[in-house]
Symmetry: C2
Subunit: 474 residues, 2 copies
């Protein structure tokens, strides 16, 4: 960890390249009705869930095959124009914004589940497949795909940001769950990384170089991920606590004891109130943990008994179980709606989401000081967290008409990141760097590591056309 | 998977660069008694467990710090001389051989356990720490480091080859278990990758780019890995089968049912005989599975009951348990001695070890045909496997005075690799590419992916001094 000397980052640099007429003509000739330059279409592809406003890309190509993607990239490369892959648009960090202009490649039509290999616990999909669609497709096999970032994100987007979410504490992140990729590189050629073998030492780990590269090294066109047998038994539980600290200390102890808990989510009292109002629920308005246990019936009982004991020691009460699929769905829908409930609680607001992740023993230190600071600031916010991994998110709810709120929120985030880094953590557990954390990345890893990333980028994308302006400066 | 058109690889290309006198003088001035050019020392650093003979490096530097490594690399870089990191020397693929000459950096004196963070389940070590030393150092914390490639390898070497071994079926490989690294790059600068946070989306995954890069991108000087709570209960079991097929089919079913088994190792009848002779054991001379179950006492019982039922259905018999630490150690020592027992069974022999890994459903198809071919060849061999991962090793025992045996063994390996690739597998599950599998790598991943690896290598090591001549041609 280096001394945090970076400035407080407020707005991204915008420097859009103009679309050459000859390129537009070539795209029209190649893609016909798969190309759109309509403003409404471009605007839809020029925004995401970040708080920034940037003018849209110059054109949108609706790709239907790897060849479509490769041809679009080749044309863009010939004219040095940026390429930004797009599917669901759920990025929180400005990944999809055309800060240097260019072409958005919409991958939603590439939404085929290509091969379910149930006997090997693997599945190969196109990048536009969403996580819910994938789970629907494999349901009859008795298997499931556990990675759940909340939003019904595309597998391509989840790969690009190294996403994780509620189940990562037990099943890992996209880092651990992607086996192989097909990728269109910056010159429009198509490569394959990895095989369906569970492990391999065959050369550089290009799969994991691509996972988390945020579209800056290529466009993923096929993705092979691991599946898991649906647990014999699943039990979800909700537990209220007298304070956030009590909930966090319960979590720390559960993880340190090695309980193989599948999910352990913190929801602060603000979030509970917002969710109650949004979804007409009657959840007790106190900080709470939402938990889920997977395993054999005996193992689930052992785990939940143990966690209940630990929670009780910390003043946890109302340990309510949801054992039917319907009751569990209701519980997790409440959790997943926290973001939308928060947005609705302050109509017209923009959200800045923090994403620090720290070693589990430092979770209380990192989180509690930031709660106190945020309470003192007066900014409306909610707080949720994948606390079993040491990862949590403040969502600051900003009135775009009050610029001072953004400055205050950025200062809070800045102080939070510095605190997390000083505790051995990272500025981003799962959302990625995008536009928002470029300065934080340098502070976190040091200039040497960022220079190595930049060297790789220059070598693999010498024209800087793959989602330029993200992660680090050119 | 591409059409397997590569030639059968027999011996590596040797093209040693001569040591410039000025470099030698500079090394002497900087390193004094930490430098050796004695032939016996150089020879000790110029071999590994591969079957190749290559003249040794020109000098050996005994590094005691990151600064020592960085200074050695800077001097080597100034004279375009290769650098090869060395610790235990247990590579099976020629990684440590100075095919282009250069300087061996011995890391055995960098063997400090730097920080045990028991409450976060992490530990940071220098690269010369071996896995047994690490487990001894963390024993009092109630935690352990599960990755176990058999040999008492160094953590640096295990990182470099993306090693795994017997516990990987439950705990993953070095790919999943390394959190952060300090690396001396090809220009002698020092970078850090990763933090102690359990997950991160902070830029390119340089940690995993380094893990498995076989020393070709830098020298790792600090390594942070995950630890795990020692299971509440551990039970090991041994089970004999009427045929290899029965043992393999039992394994496939255990994995497909999602049993969280910690180890499941196949030992063929040749290995059993060799181990019996070497260690004066009385193991039943039939194919067998060695298994281990970790968890709560209930969970261990559930798992072993289930596996016992599956094994019985396939004709498994004599399901013997070893529940005391001593009995378990005896069992696993037998497994780990298989290699040495085999070498001793044919005095003076050289071993060529195969390392294919396939999706679990294809394990029987891949393994049984190769057993039949190897039996028919008349080459003495043994067969062991981390079959729960679809990974297994034939060890061909070659008389170096009968060159035809090498040709036959290489042909068997070539056919085995092609079979594994056609079944969606990899040429190397855990040993790495080194000198031996460079052609296989191209067949497996295609020229496009290898070119991407080469582009990265050229960008990060433009003088080609970091362990040159390994993984792919320059």
């Amino acid at each position: 960890m280096n001394a945090p000397t970076h400035p407080i980052h407020v707005m991204p640099e915008i420097n859009q390249r103009a679309m050459p007429t000859a390129l537009l003509e070539s795209l029209k000739a190649r893609f016909g009705a798969q190309l759109s330059t309509a403003l409404v279409v471009r605007e839809q592809h020029g925004r995401d869930e970040s708080s920034y406003s940037v003018p849209p890309p110059s054109a949108v190509v609706f790709a239907e095959s790897t060849t479509d993607v490769a041809d679009a990239v080749k044309l863009a490369s010939a004219y040095d124009m940026p390429i930004i892959a797009f599917a669901v648009g759920s990025s929180l960090e400005g990944h999809l914004l055309a800060v240097q202009g260019g072409i958005s490649i919409d991958l939603n039509r590439m939404n085929q589940v290509l091969a379910i290999n149930a006997e090997d616990l693997t599945v190969t999909v196109q990048p536009g497949v969403t996580r819910k669609q994938l789970n629907e497709a494999v349901k009859s096999t008795g298997l499931f795909f556990p990675i759940d970032p909340g939003a019904d994100a595309s597998l391509g987007g989840m790969c690009a940001t190294r996403a994780s979410g509620t189940n990562a504490v037990r099943y890992g992140t996209m880092r651990e769950n992607v086996l192989a990729l097909e990728v269109v590189t910056a010159d429009g050629s198509v490569i394959r990384t990895g095989t369906r073998a569970k492990k391999s030492s065959a050369g550089y780990d290009l799969t994991r170089l691509m996972v988390g590269s945020e579209g800056t090294l290529g466009v993923m066109t096929e993705i092979t991920v691991k599946l898991y047998p649906l647990p014999e038994a699943i039990s979800a539980a909700i537990c209220s606590f007298p304070s956030i600290e009590a909930a966090v200390r319960t979590t720390i102890q559960v993880i340190q004891m090695g309980v193989p808990i599948a999910r352990v989510e913190l929801i602060d009292v603000n979030s509970v109130r917002m969710v109650n109002a949004y979804a007409k629920l009657g959840l007790r308005e106190e900080p709470m943990l939402l938990m889920e246990f997977h395993g054999s019936p005996n193992s689930v009982k052992e785990q939940s008994d143990l966690v209940q004991d630990i929670a009780s020691e910390h003043g946890g009460k109302a340990f309510d179980f949801a054992t039917t699929p319907e009751a569990r769905t209701k519980l997790w829908t409440a959790r997943h709606n926290a973001y939308f409930a928060a947005v609705q609680s302050r109509p017209g607001c923009k959200v800045i989401s923090t994403d620090t992740c720290v070693p589990i023993s430092r979770l209380a230190d990192c989180l509690l000081d930031s709660v106190a600071e945020t309470d003192a600031s007066g900014i409306p916010y909610f707080l949720v967290g994948h606390v079993g991994d040491g990862n949590f998110h403040f969502g600051y709810l900003l009135d775009p008409n009050i610029p001072e709120e953004r400055v205050t929120a950025e200062k809070l985030n800045h102080d939070l990141v510095n605190r997390a880094l000083s505790l051995g953590g990272t500025c981003t557990g799962e959302h990625g760097v995008g536009l928002h954390k470029m300065d934080f990345l340098v502070t976190e890893t040091g200039a040497g590591a960022v220079n190595m990333m930049r060297t790789i980028k220059h070598a693999l994308d010498p024209k800087n056309i793959m989602n330029p302006g993200k992660i680090f400066s050119w």
